[in-house]
């Protein structure tokens, strides 16, 4: 195949060159903002900042609504003007080559753009010890947004191939991206409209209730009894939106959280391919005289407008459902205004106002009828029956909850709910079955709570056991060096991974790996490895000393166990230390070589917050008393003592009396 027929370098060069300023601006703006954000992070954050998918993606995500659209318009927007159509299409280059050149070139620009952004993140990760942006995260970012940008680019190209002006293209883009998910939304609305309960099928002892009485449920008794005879029991659950929306609609899924989504990538990739092929055929057969107005063909104009009325009428349907008379009046007015505005925006004129309004109202009427009918039909419909074996998981705890995948735990949960011996309150939980998301309402009694806890503990052990200790990317509050990695690994290897209880862990360092497109955290008790403990303390002490050197600390505090430290001492502590800061520095530089059983934690608060572990609290107290003696006669110290006596000692007396 002659590559020149697919990609004409000269044509593309000139096509880009004509808008180089605009393109450079928009393509440059995102990397610049990203650089700025990274620099601000370096300057403002005290310790180490861990970037996740969301934090590195926000700007790029917003850019997705502008840059690929603009790119497609720059490359193929010539079709909107007769003059430019004449100019481009009269040149010795075929429509096929024009299309493929712009598609290949556009994708090339997107890849280059994402590569620049990824290199920026990679560069900052490499050269700044304050920022943690792991390479797998950057790869995820690159992959997700390259595909997402290509997807939006391809949809825009499709819109351009269909429509005759910019607004027409916007309408086409909205229809292509939003219509199918909208139908899914309506489907969900109907699906969840069934009167009371859906059913769960369980035909093994693990989940079958010992006793079940349909009377307790607000369901048709005969139906229920028939179903129960077939081991199908009423259970309250309803469908939820899927979480694999294409990137521009991602705010509909994952509770609006921006996250890496593999199935969304595959969907966008496949759709991009389909759009590219459809766009190709539309473009090479495009009526190039169709420009400067959305759709020259009147019928097509009305058809497209009618399609846009599908979601609008659904909104009016919801209004009318609540307030029939006023709702109808408001809706008719809305439709008439929308109809005129649509014509005005897409065709740049009020297009045959009377005819256009009548068509819009007729379409509105038909759609309204269809929605009403659909809802009524769905009410009559059969209840959904889900096989318990099809449940992939139930998530206990809505956000960051434990995914219960164990079939016997799931069955026990359902069985307990169905039996409902204790009249339990129901908890809503996320459920996934047959590749679909649901909300299920289950009862959890203390037995079940224990079962879930056991399962959660098991998951915890598994998490620790499978933790990829060789690929740690982050340690909380400390720079991750090779030495630290080695010490953490040694500590990890000393841990008893069969008996992990995070709540009981003391003096820990939290570390993370980036695996399966997300961070996984574990806690490592520092004291397991004395060298690790010392390393962390040295680090913290060095940083704290730097803080003292920089006069950054404005407040000192101390926490210690088993040492008598009076309230007055606590009250004047910051002042005393501040007045003896040089002595403190001397002390700290020579401390931490040995740790006694009575250690203390000195905290420093300034622009940053830092704490130092004092090796021997008793020794430190002796030093503190010396410093206190030195300033005892200072006026400020006396004022503090008076203040203390005035406010706190009285309170203490009052408390004692009480």
């Amino acid at each position: 195949m002659n590559l020149m027929r697919l990609f004409n370098k000269d044509y593309f060069k000139e096509n880009v060159r004509k808008s180089k300023g605009l393109l450079a601006f928009f393509l440059g703006v995102i990397p610049l903002i990203n650089i700025l954000i990274l620099i601000i992070n370096i300057l403002n954050i005290d310790n180490v900042t861990l970037f996740d998918f969301r934090s590195i993606s926000v700007v790029t995500f917003l850019g997705m609504y502008v840059i690929p659209v603009l790119l497609a318009l720059t490359l193929l927007g010539f079709v909107f003007k007769r003059k430019s159509v004449d100019f481009v299409l009269s040149k010795p280059i075929t429509r096929k080559t024009i299309y493929t050149t712009n598609i290949i070139g556009g994708i090339g620009i997107i890849i280059l753009f994402m590569l620049i952004n990824s290199l920026i993140f990679g560069g900052f990760n490499l050269f700044s010890s304050k920022l943690v942006i792991p390479l797998p995260l950057i790869i995820d970012y690159f992959l997700y947004f390259v595909i997402a940008y290509i997807f939006v680019f391809m949809v825009t190209v499709l819109g351009i191939s269909l429509a005759g002006n910019f607004m027409g293209t916007v309408v086409a883009i909205m229809i292509v991206i939003c219509l199918f998910p909208f139908f899914k939304l309506i489907g969900l609305y109907y699906n969840n409209n069934y009167e009371y309960n859906n059913y769960i099928k369980c035909d093994d002892k693990e989940c079958m209730p010992a006793e079940f009485n349909c009377d307790r449920y607000g369901v048709t008794l005969s139906d229920c009894n028939k179903k129960v005879a077939k081991n199908q029991y009423p259970l309250s659950y309803e469908r939820e939106l899927d979480d694999n929306f294409v990137a521009p609609l991602t705010f509909f899924s994952n509770n609006g959280e921006l996250s890496y989504n593999g199935s969304s990538i595959i969907k966008m990739l496949l759709l991009s391919l389909v759009y590219a092929v459809v766009g190709f055929y539309l473009f090479i057969n495009r009526k190039m005289e169709n420009n400067e107005t959305s759709f020259k063909n009147e019928k097509l104009h009305y058809i497209i407008k009618s399609i846009t009325l599908i979601p609008i009428t659904f909104i009016t349907y919801l209004i009318i459902k609540d307030e029939p008379l006023i709702g109808m009046l408001v809706s008719v007015a809305m439709i008439l205004i929308y109809s005129a505005l649509y014509d005005l925006v897409t065709k740049r004129e009020i297009y045959k106002f009377g005819k256009s309004s009548v068509i819009s109202l007729v379409v509105f009427g038909i759609l309204l009828g269809a929605y009403t009918l659909g809802v009524n039909i769905s009410k009559l419909g059969e209840a959904q029956v889900l096989d318990i074996n099809d449940i992939e998981y139930i998530k206990y705890g809505y956000i960051d909850g434990t995914k219960i995948t164990d079939k016997s735990v799931i069955k026990a949960l359902v069985k307990t709910t169905l039996e409902d011996k204790e009249n339990m309150g129901r908890q809503s939980m996320q459920m996934r079955a047959n590749g679909k998301n649901y909300i299920v309402y289950l009862g959890v009694n203390s037995d079940m709570q224990n079962l879930i806890d056991t399962f959660t503990d098991m998951e915890m052990q598994n998490k620790y056991k499978n933790f990829d200790i060789d690929n740690i990317v982050y340690a909380r509050d400390i720079e991750l060096t090779k030495t630290l990695k080695k010490l953490v690994k040694e500590a990890y290897q000393k841990m008893d991974l069969t008996n992990i209880d995070e709540e009981k862990m003391d003096e820990v360092i939290q570390v993370a790996v980036y695996k399966d497109h997300e961070y996984q955290y574990i806690k490592i008790p520092k004291l397991i490895n004395k060298d690790l403990d010392k390393y962390v303390l040295d680090y913290q002490n060095t940083k704290a000393l730097e803080m003292i050197e920089e006069n950054d600390s404005i407040y000192y505090d101390i926490y210690m166990n088993d040492i008598e430290f009076s309230d007055l001492d606590s009250y004047v502590f910051s002042y005393v230390v501040e007045e003896n800061v040089e002595a403190l520095k001397d002390y700290l530089e020579n401390d931490n070589t040995e740790f006694t059983n009575t250690t203390a934690m000195l905290s420093l608060t300034g622009k940053k917050f830092m704490h130092i572990k004092i090796g021997d609290a008793k020794k430190f107290m002796t030093e503190f008393k010396k410093w206190q003696e030195k300033v005892k006669n200072e006026e400020e110290y006396q004022d503090l003592v008076n203040q203390y006596n005035r406010y706190y000692s009285k309170d203490t007396e009052a408390i004692d009396e009480y």
Partner: protein, 299 residues
């Protein structure tokens, strides 16, 4: 050779801009296409150039289907009535763009002609006057050395001196490169001194087509007066397209068609016999009238 057969194009359903148009344009000709607004002149040029796609019919250029054919398009250049230049482009930028697309593009030609016309090749075209923009478009088109050049409202906005200059350039292109030029205009006088063939487009069809020499040497305006009384029947041996008699003097428009009219008229021993040349416009008017059309409706 451009051969168009049964070409039809409509923009609104059943309202044809061109309908079953047939036309054949030979090599190394300057073909003038005249017609009123909306006659379909620009549409025809756009169809030849694959800007638009025909609804039916064929366009063959050098025996190849012309639609979206890159090889054919390398030999075609089109200057539309409404000019387009990329924003911030200079004439030199445009020339480089054309050079990347046309294999025989002559950049020195652009520089040379621009110098003669005192056009700054590095100035932004957007800052030029309408006439200067037209000059730029014509220069780059001529520099392509394409075999077929299509010009819509060719000299629109050019002053008479520049117009003459470009006519010279077109004639040179024809002579040196055997270029075939198709140009449209409302104005017959403008085409008269440069075209060797003319076609009249009316309601989507070529109503009338001929080479200018034949048109001009085949038709005459004759003023005649005879000693005796006479009427149109007196001249029945001739093909008379128009006959008007005021007093004793009659004005005839005669189409020769191989007959020697002078010999026939002299045989009538006229008192007055004057042969007057016809302008191209007059030739068209009488031809159209002979075909039963009102010329004013057509052009």
């Amino acid at each position: 050779m451009i051969e168009i057969k049964n070409l039809s194009k409509c923009f609104v359903k059943d309202k044809y801009v061109l309908e079953n148009l047939n036309c054949s344009i030979g090599e190394a000709h300057i073909y003038g296409l005249v017609g009123a607004n909306g006659a379909g002149k620009s549409t025809l040029l756009r169809l030849i150039n694959s800007v638009y796609k025909q609804d039916s019919g064929t366009i063959y250029i050098d025996d190849k289907d012309a639609f979206d054919n890159e090889e054919v398009k390398k030999n075609l250049v089109f200057v539309p009535d409404d000019l387009f230049f990329y924003p911030n482009y200079s004439l030199m930028d445009m020339a480089e763009y054309y050079k990347s697309l046309y294999p025989r593009f002559d950049i020195n030609y652009v520089i040379n002609i621009a110098n003669k016309l005192k056009l700054d090749i590095n100035a932004k075209i957007s800052s030029f006057s309408k006439g200067m923009k037209r000059q730029c478009a014509l220069i780059v088109a001529l520099a392509t050395k394409a075999k077929y050049m299509l010009f819509d409202e060719t000299f629109d906005g050019l002053d008479p001196v520049v117009r003459k200059f470009f006519k010279g350039l077109l004639a040179n292109a024809l002579e040196e490169n055997k270029t075939t030029i198709i140009m449209t205009s409302h104005n017959l006088r403008e085409l008269e001194d440069i075209c060797d063939n003319l076609g009249l487009l009316y309601k989507g069809k070529i109503l009338f087509e001929s080479d200018i020499d034949t048109l001009k040497t085949n038709m005459f305006k004759v003023q005649i007066s005879l000693k005796e009384d006479f009427n149109k029947e007196t001249f029945k041996g001739l093909k008379i397209l128009s006959y008007k008699k005021i007093g004793s003097i009659a004005t005839l428009i005669i189409e020769e068609n191989g007959k020697d009219s002078k010999k026939i008229l002299n045989a009538l021993k006229p008192v007055i016999l004057d042969y007057l040349p016809l302008t191209l416009e007059e030739v068209f008017i009488y031809q159209m009238e002979a075909l039963g059309y009102e010329f004013n409706e057509i052009v």
